[in-house]
C-alpha cells in the first residue's frame, strides 16, 4: 500500500508552521480522508471543519499544494504523492486554529444585502408562475455551497485586503440571483455599486476557476450584475431622461 507524506499547517492566530505526517493511501481516498486518519491516529487535537464529505456543504475548504480546494473532493490520485502534499488554511481569512479560519465576515456582509422583495402573487392562492427558462439563471447561482473558495482566491480580498470596500464574488452572485429571481421587485444596483463595490471586480475569473460547483461566477453572475449597474447608472439616454423628468 502506498504511503504519502503530508505537511499540514498547525498553529493559531499567534503563529505556527508545517508539521509532517505520514499516512497510508488506499484506493479512491480524498485529502479529507487522509486528514481524518492523521487526526484519529496521530493528532487528535488537529482542527479541521467538515460536514457532508460529498461536496455539498462547503465546510472543508483549504489550500492543497497551494490551490484552494475542498478537501473532500480532492482525490489523492490527482496529486503527486511522491512529494509531500501541503495542506494549509485558506489565506484570505484569519486563522483560528490549524485548518480552521474565521469566516464570520462573510456572514456579516450577507446580512447587509436587501432580501427578496416579492411582487404581488400571480394567482389567487398566493403563488407565482415562472417559466423554467426564467429560473435557469438564478438556479445556477443558487447552487453555491458557500465554501468561500471564490472569496479566498479573489485578489481584491486576498492580496489587497479590501474587505471594507468589496463584498467579493460570493456576494456578487448572491445579489445577482436575487435580481434575477422572476418575482423580485427590488433593485440592488445602487447598493451593489455604492456599498458592495462591484466596480472593484476586474473580471480576472479566478473565482470561476476554483468554484467546486462549476458556477460560471463571472460570466453568468458578476457580468450581468455589472450590466444592470451600468444600465441604471451610466446609460446617457436614461441619465438625460432622469435629469429632464426628475425621476
Amino acid at each position: 500500500m502506498a504511503q504519502a507524506t503530508f505537511k499540514i499547517w498547525r498553529g493559531d492566530a499567534s503563529g505556527g508552521g508545517y508539521k509532517e505526517y505520514k499516512t497510508e493511501i488506499t484506493e479512491g481516498m480524498v485529502v479529507l480522508d487522509a486528514v481524518h486518519n492523521i487526526q484519529a491516529t496521530q493528532a487528535n487535537d488537529m482542527a479541521c471543519r467538515w460536514n457532508c464529505k460529498a461536496g455539498k456543504c462547503g465546510s472543508c475548504s483549504a489550500e492543497i499544494n497551494g490551490k484552494p480546494r475542498l478537501m473532500c473532493m480532492t482525490r489523492m490520485n490527482t496529486l503527486p504523492v511522491e512529494e509531500p502534499i501541503t495542506v494549509e488554511p485558506i489565506h484570505t481569512f484569519p486563522v483560528i486554529k490549524d485548518l480552521v479560519t474565521d469566516v464570520s465576515w462573510n456572514y456579516e456582509v450577507k446580512k447587509k444585502i436587501p432580501k427578496l422583495k416579492p411582487r404581488a402573487p400571480d394567482a389567487p392562492d398566493g403563488t407565482w408562475r415562472m417559466s423554467q427558462e426564467d429560473v435557469d439563471r438564478p438556479q445556477e447561482l443558487r447552487k453555491c455551497i458557500e465554501c468561500y473558495l471564490c472569496q479566498d482566491v479573489c485578489h481584491v480580498l486576498r492580496d489587497h485586503n479590501l474587505k471594507d470596500k468589496f463584498a467579493g464574488p460570493r456576494f456578487m452572485i448572491y445579489a445577482a440571483q436575487l435580481e434575477m429571481n422572476p418575482i423580485d421587485s427590488d433593485s440592488r444596483t445602487t447598493f451593489m455599486k455604492e456599498q458592495m463595490g462591484i466596480g472593484y471586480c476586474n473580471i480576472t475569473k479566478c473565482c470561476t476557476e476554483v468554484c467546486p460547483e462549476h458556477i460560471k461566477i463571472t460570466d453568468n453572475g458578476i457580468i450581468p450584475m455589472k450590466e444592470r449597474v451600468v444600465d441604471d447608472h451610466y446609460d446617457p439616454v436614461l441619465w438625460l431622461w432622469r435629469k429632464l423628468t426628475g425621476k
Binding site: G28, M29, A40, W50, A54, I96, Q132, Q139, K143
Partner: protein, 605 residues
Amino acid sequence: MAEVQTYEHDVLVIGAGGAGLRAAIEASAAGVSVGLVCKSLLGKAHTVMAEGGVAAALANVDDRDSWKVHFADTMRGGQYVNNWRMAELHAKEAPERVRELEKWGAVFDRTKDGKILQRNFGGHRYPRLAHVGDRTGLEIIRTLQDHGIHQGIQVYMEVAIIRLLKDGDRVTGAFGYYREKGRFVLFKAKAIVLATGGIGKAYSITSNSWEYTGDGHTLAYDAGADLLDMEFVQFHPTGMIWPPSVRGILVTEGVRGEGGVLRNKEGKRFMFDDIPDNYKQQTADNEEEGWRYCQGDKNARRPPELLTRDHVARCINREVKAGRGSPHGGVYLDISWIKQRVPNGEEHIKRKLPSMYHQFKELGDIDITKEPMEVGPTTHYMMGGAKVDGDTQMTRVPGLFAAGECAAGLHGANRLGGNSLSDLLVFGQRAGQFAAKFAKENKAGAVNGDQVDAVARWALEPFERTSGTEGPYMVQKDLQEMMQANVGIVRKEDEMQKAVGEIAKLWERANKVRVDGNREYNPGWHTAMDLHSLLTVSEAVARAGIERKESRGAQFRDDYPEKDAKFGKLNIIIRKGPDGKMQVIQEPLKELPAELKQIIDEMQK
C-alpha cells in the same frame, strides 16, 4: 456556580438545520427573543444533503393528489404505528409550508405552466416531491437561512450543547461550549426547541456527517423526556460503496424516480421478484409499464424500484448475501439505459441529476450517463426520537419541544422519501409557534448552579485523566462497527443482547478516555463528549429493537420475520428511570378517529 458566559432568550433553538431554522423564524415572528445554536457554521447542517425533494400534495402535476392521499401514503409507509395526528397535520400543512418558501426566495423547478414541478418518489402514489434538480435540501436550508438572518434571531455558531438544565419538572436552560475557544456557555430560556437531527454516527456505514451523534435524543432523554420508536432506523437502499472512502454517501432515490433500475450481477431486475402484497395493486409487473410511469403516464403503475426504502434495502441485502452482488458487495443501479428511450439522453441525465453526475464523476471516476453505479444500503435516517404532542411538539417535559429528525411520530416504522423535508418545515413551524406561546405564558425559571458545575466538571475530566492512554476515536470506531454488525439491517435477539453487553463495556471505556491538547477547537475533546450521546442512543436502539419481537418497516428480525398484530397496536418507549437505568415500556397506540380510518380504507381500494 463558576463564572460562565450567560445569555438569556425567551426561546432557545438547538440545531440549525431546516427544522431549527424554521422554528426560529416562527418564534421570532411571534415577537419573542430567539437564540439559535448550531454545532457547525450556519447553513452547513445536514439538511444540505437532502436531494430528491420535499413532499407536499400541491397537485401541480397530478390533480388527483390531495392531503388525504398523502396522509394515507404516510401511514401505510409507516406501517400504521405512526402518530396519526402528526401524519394528518403534516399532509394538510406541507403545501402551504412549501409555497411560503417561494416568497422567501426559493426557486423550485417548474412545470410547463409555470407552477412548482413535482416528481415521483417511493411510496408516494402521485408525483409529489417539489424539487430543485437533486439539491433540494440545499435550496431549503439556504432559503431559510437567508430569510432568517433578517428576522433578528441571535445565532451562536459552532456551539455544542451537552446538557439541559431544569428547575423542578421544567426545562430552564442549556449548557454547552464554544467549539472555537472551548469556553463554556450557558443559555437561560423559557422554552427550548431541540432540532438536532439524527444518530447516523452510531453506525460505521452512514450517509450522515460527524454532527449526527444523537445529541437532541440524548438531551431529551437525560432531561426526562420519552424516546419513541427508537428501533426504527432507516437504512437507505442506495449508498455509494466504492471506493472505500465514499462508502455510505447517499445516492438519491431520484435516480430511480427518473427511471434508474436495480440489477444484480446476472443483469436481472431482481425487484420484480418480491413485491409485498399490500403494494401489489399499485406496482408494475413488467418493465415497460414501470418506464411509462417514470415518464409521467398516469395510467401506469410504479416500477418496483420505487417500493418503500425498508423493502428495497432488504432486497439488495438478499441479493448480496445470495452471491448475486456486484464486485464490491452491492448491486448495480443503472440510469444510463434510459438513453435508449429519451432523445439526447446524456444531457437529460445530467440536467435531472446534476449532483449525482458530479459526485460519481469526481469521487468514483464513474460517468453515470455511460455505466451503472454500484450501490448498497447505508444508515440514513432515524424515525425514532423525542415523543412529542402532535399539535404543539412539546415533550412530556414542560417547556421542552422537539422537531425534525430528533422528534418521533410522523414516520412510524418507516419514512417515505421526501417526507423529511416537509416534516421539518411543518413541525419546525409548529414547534416555533408553540415554544413562543409557552415563553409568553410562563415566567423564566431558575438555573441551578450545582447542575452547571457538575456538567462542567464532567466535561473537563478527559483532560485530567492521566492513567488511561486510550483516545476517544477508538471507542467511537468500535461502537460504530459493533452497531453495524449487531443492530443493523437484519436483526436477531442474541445479537442485540450482545450489543447491550458491549455497550456497557464501551461506557466504561468512554468514561476513561483521555484527550491531548488544550480546549481550543479540539476535535478529540468534542468526540470524547459526543460518546455520551452516541452510547445513549445506541443502547436505546438495541433495547427497543429487542422489545419489538416482530418485523415491521425498518426493523427486520430474522427470528421474527413476520408482522405481529399485537405489536402493530403499540409503540416502544425508552425512558430514563429514577435509578438512571434505561427503561423499556410498551405503550398502546391512540385510537385512530373514524374519519381518518375511513380515508385509509378508501385509499386501500
